[in-house]
């Protein structure tokens, strides 16, 4: 079953994020994939996250496909204009990739080539629209193509960044543009997430799109502090910071927190799955999935 079919069948799905290496070594991906096999329903492959050059997401996705996993390629507007994006998407489809997550992308100054030209020909909503148009058999220009790609289209949502009131409306725009599933930023503030979900339910958006809530297991208090400081738009409840600081074994505490958050998220109406982001800690995924009771039968 593909990710789309799993979501449509009403199953609570789990996706996880995988960062390709900063080298041409494809074996790194194969090694990381071991932790995900038979554990998660889809694997997100980042597209040069934080603007640092990495192995291409489509190439990584192909490696994952060969390993028998279902990849979700992330596509950002930072590096490619509409011509390159369409061409890459057609190529991805030809390789058998079925899921696309459309993002605007981090700005170039965050990465290791801060002097690069930021492209941003489209924004994330327009990119979702473009992918949708491709699946309908049209190029962005309106010209028809013979064989249309078949994509399950995703978008991202950040329920934690200001202006908070506008985030639900922006989600509605993404759905109108053609988003079919949504992956959110990591949840470290359940109150705020609940508030956002209330807004989402008010507009009935949870029925139109599958929302996968982000969860990030952290290794140490330092890592959590880093997230708060360096990742714009993150919101972390102070209780978690304190717990991580006080813990004798921060790794165990990090797992405990992640599992706790997943348990809470499962109860929320409208949350259709979990998106795990074990940054540089892929090996922990099977344990968290099992402890949270998300193991597929």
């Amino acid at each position: 079953m593909t990710l789309k079919e799993k979501i449509e069948s009403g199953r609570f799905v789990v996706t996880a994020e995988l960062g390709p290496p900063q080298s041409s070594n494809g074996n790194v991906i194969r090694k990381k994939a071991v932790h995900f096999r038979n554990v998660v329903d889809g694997v997100n492959i980042t597209d040069n996250q934080t603007a640092i050059v990495r192995l291409s997401s489509i190439a990584s996705a192909k490696i994952l496909l060969d390993e028998g996993l279902e990849p979700i390629i992330q596509v950002t507007c930072r590096d490619r204009n509409r011509i390159a994006l369409q061409s890459d998407l057609l190529g991805a489809s030809a390789l058998g990739i079925k899921n696309v997550l459309c993002l605007t992308g981090d700005y170039v100054t965050f990465g290791n080539h801060p002097e690069a030209k930021p492209v941003f020909d489209l924004d994330s909503i327009q990119l979702i629209y473009m992918v949708r148009k491709l699946t309908k058999g049209f190029f962005l220009s309106g010209e028809k193509m013979k064989t249309a790609p078949d994509f399950f289209i995703g978008g991202a949502a950040n329920p934690f960044a200001p202006p908070l009131e506008f985030r639900v409306l922006r989600l509605a725009k993404k759905i109108r543009a053609g988003a079919q599933f949504i992956q959110t930023q990591p949840v470290f503030d359940l109150d705020r997430f609940n508030e956002w979900m209330r807004g989402v339910r008010n507009y009935g958006l949870h029925k139109k799109v599958a929302i996968l809530a982000g969860v990030m297991p952290v290794k140490s208090a330092k890592a959590l502090q880093y997230m708060i400081k360096e990742v714009p738009g993150m919101r972390v409840h102070q209780a978690y910071v304190k717990r991580m600081e006080k813990a004798d074994d921060p790794k165990e505490e990090g797992i405990k927190i992640a599992v706790e958050i997943i348990q809470e998220l499962k109860k929320i109406e409208g949350v259709r799955g979990i998106h795990l982001m074990p940054l540089m800690w892929e090996s922990i995924t099977p344990r968290i999935v099992e402890e949270a009771g998300l193991k597929p039968k």
Binding site: Y107, P118, P163
Partner: protein, 141 residues
């Protein structure tokens, strides 16, 4: 489940300006700049959507988002790229709420036509290349 997608058209098919149009546009752009740069810090995209964004120029965003804000807005509404600046889309939202123009922000803005970059938006309205500015949104029945 996913039938929310309505057939919207986000691309513009407007042709490039002819040489004589370009010359005329340049003259108009001079006068446009005199007004729009001091008032709105206009970025001369040529497809003005100021009336949709509560008269805050959305193109001041480093990512030039036409359907912002991105997910990186910092606590307090600051830009992710320039932490000392306010996020343009945060300002747009605040201003739109103040003026009762939030309904404009629920519309999806069209994809930028780079042929119109650095041309006069007034001339483009005049030659029907772009939509004229809207003071009010007509409510749909």
């Amino acid at each position: 489940m996913y039938d929310e997608f309505i057939e919207i058209e986000l691309t513009t098919k407007e042709k490039r300006l002819k040489p004589w149009e370009r010359r005329f546009s340049q003259i108009m752009l001079f006068f446009e700049n005199v007004i729009k740069i001091p008032l709105f810090r206009c970025q001369r995209c040529g497809e003005c959507i100021l009336s949709h964004t509560a008269f805050v120029c959305s193109q001041r965003c480093p990512k030039r988002m036409r359907n912002g804000p991105c997910g990186g807005t910092r606590e307090g509404g600051y830009c992710e790229v320039y932490p000392e600046r306010k996020c343009i889309w945060y300002l747009i939202y605040k201003r739109a709420r103040l003026f009762g123009r939030l309904s404009f922000l629920t519309r999806i803005e069209k994809i930028h036509n780079w042929n119109l970059e650095k041309t006069s938006a007034w001339f483009n309205v005049f030659t029907k290349r772009i939509e004229p500015p809207k003071l009010f949104l007509r409510s749909k029945k």
